[in-house]
Each structure stands twice: as structure tokens, then as C-alpha cells.
């Protein structure tokens, strides 16, 4: 069974078609890197799988079923734009607030909930975060906390929306490695959206490139080519491979980096002002 299937899917938001006639299928247990320029529909794709956006035509299947809000089999790490309230809240309490958070009543954490949270924190090597207040954590630690939260309840599909944004390169690699290891061990399917392909090269099975309403899913060699990307970007794109890295260039400029640094003005639907990389523009950084 496929983890996610799109068959002739068109999605329109506010009169603009974000995806048009997209068909693809993601196999069980695959690690998919989701890439593409801003506004290409990376967030929209995930929100569709979560049942938050209904396609205007075509059919979507998630884990063999129609998408439905609150599907417990999907773990989700939203692109965090809501600044976490500067609470002195402890990591464990923060995660606990999301456990069965959709139910009515008082937010009481049972002993079983607590144990499950602690186990997941241990699995991602974040045991120490349980007792520390959020205000005391670095960006990398918070992201690790959110990752643990997304993994809670043994999901079969993990949707990670730009989990690397605002992390420094070392933390980015740690997050990628962690997701890769955790999900491979448990056979969890991952959709991992990012701005930069190179960091994901060692982790992903296939890449899903979005652009101008289209989507191409395939191996790096099939997808990251000049003709395919030129079509998706609507511009002349060169793909330069050097030293194990792939550079996607438009008229001599690296489009991924360019995107990354100017994404404050480009908005995907339902995504608030996003912030760019923590790498200063004048420091070229490439991870293997």
C-alpha cells in the first residue's frame, strides 16, 4: 500500500491554482525530500494530506484512506511561525498539551501519557529537555522537542514542514540524521520539505520537486536535471554537480540560496512571515 497518493489533483487557493493535475505516489517507508521555490505548494501539499485543504478536483489517498483531519497515523511538524509564547513552560508539559489536545475537558496528563512522552524524548536523545523551560532552550533544542512531539503516538507518516529553518548547519545535520535513523528503524514514511537539496542528499530515497503548479517525483538523477527544473522554475536552470554537491543555478546564481534568503516576502498559503537561513549571505556553506 502506498503512504500517499495523488491522482489528477488540482488545488486552488484564492483563485490561484497551487497544484494542477498532479499525480504521484509515495511508497511505504520512503524518505521524500520536498523541494521547490517559495509558493510552489510544499505546505499546501502537506495540508492536503492532513485534510485541511480539499482538492478542487482529483483524489488524494493517505495511508489507503481519504484525508481526514486529526488522523492519528500522521505525525506533523508545522512550519513554526507562531512564536512560542515565552512561557516558563517545561518541555514535557509543552508536549503534553498536544496529547489528545483536541478533546474537551481539563488538560490533565495521565501517567501513561507522561511515560509515552518520556520514551519518545529518549528515542530522539532529548531526555534532558523534559524538565527544562522552553525559554531556556536553543532553536535546535526546541526543534528536537517538536520532532519528538511529531513522533509521539507511533505515526506511520511523518510530515515535516521546513524543520531546518532557523537552525544552524550543525543542528540541521543532527535533525536530518535523527529523522532518517528513527524512521528507517520503524518503517515510517517521511515527507521532509526543505530549501536546500544538498543537506538531504545522504538521507532521501526520492525527491519531490514542486514548481508552477507541477510536481515531479523521482530519484535525484531523474528529477534534478536542467530540463525538469527549467520547466518547474519557468526559467533557464543549470544543474552543476561538484564534489558531491548539486548546485541549481539560474544565470550563474544559485536559486536555492537566493530563495532562502528572500523568502520573507514570498508566502505560501497560511504561512506567516518566514525567516531565512541562519547562515549569513556572504558565507557559502555546503554540507555533504
Amino acid at each position: 500500500m502506498n503512504a500517499a497518493e495523488f491522482d489528477g489533483v488540482t488545488i486552488r487557493i484564492g483563485g490561484r491554482s497551487v497544484l494542477s493535475n498532479v499525480s504521484l505516489s509515495v511508497g511505504d517507508g520512503e524518505f521524500i525530500g520536498v523541494l521547490g521555490p517559495n509558493g510552489a505548494g510544499k505546505t499546501t501539499l502537506m495540508r492536503t494530506l492532513l485534510g485541511l485543504i480539499r482538492p478542487s478536483s482529483g483524489t488524494v489517498r493517505v495511508l489507503g484512506k481519504s484525508p481526514v483531519r486529526g488522523n492519528p497515523e500522521i505525525g506533523y511538524l508545522p512550519q513554526v511561525r507562531t512564536l512560542m509564547p515565552a512561557l516558563g513552560m517545561r518541555g514535557l508539559d509543552f508536549i503534553a498539551s498536544s496529547v489528545k489536545g483536541e478533546r474537551w475537558g481539563l488538560p490533565i496528563t495521565t501517567r501513561a501519557d507522561r511515560r509515552a512522552i518520556e520514551q519518545t524524548l529518549t528515542a530522539v536523545g532529548a531526555t534532558a529537555l523534559a524538565d527544562r523551560p522552553l525559554s531556556d532552550m536553543s532553536g535546535g533544542e526546541r526543534q528536537r522537542l517538536l520532532l519528538a512531539q511529531a513522533l509521539l503516538g507511533s505515526p506511520r507518516l511523518l510530515l515535516l514542514d521546513e524543520p531546518l529553518i532557523s537552525l544552524d548547519p550543525r543542528h540541521q545535520e543532527a535533525v536530518i540524521g535523527l529523522v532518517r535513523q528513527f524512521c528507517r528503524d520503524r518503517g515510517i514514511t517521511v515527507l521532509f520539505s526543505a530549501h536546500e537539496l544538498n543537506q538531504l542528499l545522504g538521507a532521501l530515497d526520492r525527491v519531490l520537486y514542486l514548481g508552477r503548479g507541477q510536481a515531479v517525483l523521482g530519484s535525484i538523477d531523474e528529477v534534478v536535471t536542467a530540463p525538469v527544473l527549467s520547466r518547474l522554475y519557468g526559467a533557464d536552470i543549470n544543474v552543476v554537480r561538484a564534489d558531491g554537491h548539486i548546485f541549481v543555478m539560474s544565470r550563474g546564481r544559485d536559486v536555492e540560496r537566493h530563495d532562502h534568503q528572500h523568502d520573507e516576502h514570498a508566502h505560501e498559503y497560511h504561512q506567516h512571515a518566514s525567516h531565512a537561513s541562519s547562515v549569513p549571505p556572504d558565507v557559502p556553506y555546503r554540507s555533504a
Binding site: 513552560m89 489536545g101 488538560p107 543532527a174
Partner: protein, 275 residues
């Protein structure tokens, strides 16, 4: 001072309202909606004076307006959040209407000060019963709402994906805030609801960690402010609302001076650094 009935009434009424204000206000602070709460109280002023004009009880005018306005604000939701200008305009418009209603109903003028600045010493027994009922309703509604409210406040994007109806939660919560504002205005007046609904929870949040500790401390602080305020007012003859506002302000300033509680363990920091 307890030989006077009006003091006993004042202690009971303000005690009930303070606890509820501290608890509801805690979520107002967590959600960053304190200004919306302030606006609700001003809209309530128009309701109170308007009710006076057509011969109804100001309290019910206040309740009606704040609850409806709360539902409306929740409905507008994201379009209104962070729109300080829009809220400010509506707020002053509401005060303006309140003034107009006063203008045409002059015999209400003496009560206007009570609505604006509170008059807890004039609270009678029937009013206490009403306040107790309102408070019970508020606490009941909040206890049903609290779990999804907390989730939606801390992580709205995730909460939405998990099936929390953000708009419904927001509307229901602001309606509860409307009720609390109406009750609170009976004690400290519409202009000073911040003293009970924002001062105590804001201070509590800086001093303790965790939801339950925060809620408990917010309620205790609010209770301490009103009872101490009443006592000080009794012996000094200063206005009660002034005394409460003074305590609330001092409490918040003190909490700023106190270092935020942090649990630091050697080795934890070390390990965290490696992450």
C-alpha cells in the same frame, strides 16, 4: 471592619470575582489577547449605560454587550489578531456611545463613575448571588474548554491539523472573557479590569512554571490584591479600586525584578550543548 455588612458583601463579591478573573486572565495572557480583553470592557461600558437608558439593569447590559462582542471578535479571529488599530478604534467608538447614552440619561450619571471605576462597597446581596452564578458559569465553561484552548493557544497550526476547531475555541473563549469582564467591572470598573485580569496572571507567569501553578498563583494574587486593597481602603479612606490597582501594579513590578524560575542542572546544560 467586619462589623459592617457592606464590608462583608465587598469581601465576598470581590473574592469570588478575583479568583475567576485571575484564572480567565491567565489564558488571556498566554494567548496574547490582553488588549482584546481591555476592548471588551469598554464595549461593556456602552452596554451598561445603554441598558440604563432603556431602564434595564446596567449589569445585564454589560454582560450582553461583552459576550456578543467577544463572540464577534472570536469570529473575526485572525483578521483581528494583532490589529491594535482596529481594536482601538472600536474601543473608543464604544466609549463614545457610552457617553452619548449617558448624555440622554442624566440621572444615570452618578452610576457612571461606578461603572467606570467600580464601586465594590455598594454591592448588595442580590448582586453577590448574580456574581456567584456568573463565576460558576465561567469556571464550568472554562473547564470544558481548557484542554483544546491550551493546545490551540500554544500550537495553533498543529492543533488545527489534529482537529481542533480554532475559530470555535476562540469564540467560546472570548465569550467567557466577556462574562469575566462583566463580573470584574462590578468590582474595579470597566476602565480597570486589567488590574485583576492581567496584572495577577502576568506576574504569576513570570514567577512560576507550569499551567496549574500559574493558574493557582494568578488566582491567589488576584484574591490577595482585592482583599488587601479593601483593607487598606477601609483604614485610609482611599478609593478601593485605587488600592487594588496599586497592589496589582506593584505585584507586576516585583515579578519583573524576580528572576524567571529556571531549572538548571549541571550536566543537563552540558548535554544540551552537545545537541
Amino acid at each position: 471592619m467586619f462589623e459592617y455588612d457592606f464590608m462583608i458583601n465587598a469581601f465576598s463579591a470581590s473574592g469570588i470575582v478575583a479568583v475567576v478573573s485571575g484564572i480567565v486572565g491567565y489564558f488571556l495572557v498566554v494567548r496574547g489577547q490582553t488588549f482584546a480583553g481591555h476592548a471588551l470592557s469598554h464595549i461593556g461600558f456602552a452596554g451598561a449605560t445603554g441598558a440604563g437608558l432603556i431602564g434595564l439593569s446596567p449589569l445585564w447590559g454589560l454582560v450582553g454587550f461583552t459576550v456578543v462582542a467577544g463572540l464577534g471578535m472570536g469570529l473575526l479571529g485572525e483578521r483581528l489578531s494583532g490589529r491594535d488599530v482596529a481594536i482601538g478604534v472600536v474601543l473608543s467608538l464604544a466609549l463614545g456611545f457610552g457617553l452619548l447614552f449617558l448624555h440622554y440619561y442624566t440621572s444615570f450619571a452618578t452610576q457612571a463613575t461606578a461603572v467606570l471605576f467600580g464601586n465594590v462597597l455598594a454591592v448588595d446581596h442580590p448582586t453577590i448571588v448574580i456574581l456567584a452564578c456568573l463565576s460558576a458559569m465561567i469556571l464550568l465553561a472554562l473547564s470544558i474548554l481548557m484542554r483544546p484552548l491550551l493546545f490551540a493557544s500554544l500550537q495553533p497550526e498543529l492543533a488545527e491539523a489534529k482537529g481542533v476547531l480554532l475559530r470555535c475555541i476562540s469564540m467560546a473563549f472570548l465569550a467567557v472573557v466577556g462574562l469575566a469582564v462583566a463580573a470584574c467591572a462590578q468590582i474595579v470598573g470597566v476602565l480597570m479590569v486589567f488590574t485583576l485580569m492581567v496584572g495577577p496572571p502576568a506576574a504569576a507567569q513570570r514567577v512560576v512554571t507550569g499551567l496549574w501553578n500559574g493558574l493557582a498563583l494568578a488566582a491567589i494574587l488576584a484574591l490577595a490584591y482585592v482583599w488587601l486593597g479593601l483593607t487598606v481602603a477601609f483604614y485610609t479612606d482611599w478609593p478601593v479600586s485605587f488600592c487594588i490597582a496599586l497592589l496589582s501594579g506593584c505585584g507586576y513590578l516585583l515579578s519583573l525584578a524576580a528572576p524567571r524560575q529556571q531549572i538548571r542542572v549541571e550536566g543537563v546544560m552540558q548535554e544540551a550543548h552537545e545537541l
